[in-house]
Subunit: 199 residues, 2 copies
């Protein structure tokens, strides 16, 4: 059933991912079993877990490629730029999606930031991002990658990026790039918005 005969061109992987995104968005992550996702994609449960190590990973697309690209952007970046600016620029470029990819991205990010289990899982994926950013800061400052400042910059910039994604999700009008810049500007400036907006 579900016409497995179709396609052949598109990887099964992409098909599974779409099915997962659709079902999770419709019924909630916890309510959908891996069996159901596999069925919807026309494969067996066992095969599902060959393509994705975890039910949660079906949502993430090729995230590893993003991390690699972020790393490349950071190492190749302008050395005269402020460190935070270079990180912001890299985040913006990695998240520079074409217009027609945005709906998928929204669906993806809404799940990740909304579903508790996926939010928890995200920590696992973001650990790679933090490592890459911390190493960049370490190169730029001469500090050890495991010391306070590189770790701190990596952790806080990722927090800023995540927050930017949240506001982007909540407000359709702002672009992702703008949201990222707003967040990074606050961060780099020591949170000027906290200096009493009334007087």
């Amino acid at each position: 059933m579900t016409e497995v005969v179709t396609d052949g061109r598109g990887d099964t992987r992409a098909r599974v991912e779409r099915a997962a995104l659709e079902l999770f968005s419709r019924d909630g992550y916890e309510q959908v079993t891996s069996d159901e996702v596999a069925d919807a994609a026309g494969i067996s449960r066992r095969t599902f877990f060959r393509h994705f190590p975890t039910k949660a990973d079906a949502v993430w697309g090729d995230f590893h490629a993003h991390v690699v690209r972020l790393d490349e952007l950071l190492t190749a970046g302008d050395g005269d730029q402020h460190v935070l600016a270079s990180i912001c620029a890299a985040y913006v470029q990695v998240n520079d999606y074409a217009e027609d990819e945005l709906p998928l991205l929204r669906q993806r990010m809404r799940l990740i930031l909304t579903e508790p289990a996926l939010l928890a899982h995200s920590q696992t994926r973001y650990a790679d991002v933090d490592r890459v950013v911390a190493e960049h800061v370490a190169r730029r400052t001469g500090a050890a990658a495991g010391s306070l400042v590189p770790r701190l910059v990596a952790a806080t910039t990722r927090a800023a990026a995540t927050t930017a994604f949240q506001t982007w999700l909540a407000d359709e009008t702002v672009s992702l790039a703008v949201a990222l810049h707003e967040a990074f500007d606050e961060l780099a400036g020591g949170f000027p918005a906290l200096e009493g907006p009334p007087g």
Copy 2:
């Protein structure tokens, strides 16, 4: 077996927690089954899951009380203080442990920050912290708690606190309070350490 007759004074809950901490530290979180923890504490697996909703929760002690205390400290805090300073002070006070509690705290935090599954789970617990801090910032600034700045401040200060815990774990000589202040100072000052320590 295992002399269940003993105690009666100490909650079983505390006994289970100690057993969990010990076994997880010794053999690794994933290697220890909930059955083994229950056995070591002299209770059944079923009862274990009545005391802790999750295997991971056995590590967290009475974390909810900490969140409540953080909330109280924030709402009762000095209104003239800089917002970031008030958050820093609250974090420091909540984490003001007696000398003899530090080994337990180290064990706890090392597990949480080291074991991938526990790190992922921590996101779930820290969500409460973020909410409390965001509401504090919202009160102080007049912004909506769901808007950019409160969210951003909550997320980045928590990232700073977590980073402080990491450096505290790695270096026995620095106190937790000092580590927290260092991290918050960098954050509040827009990362002065990034302004080229060489020249």
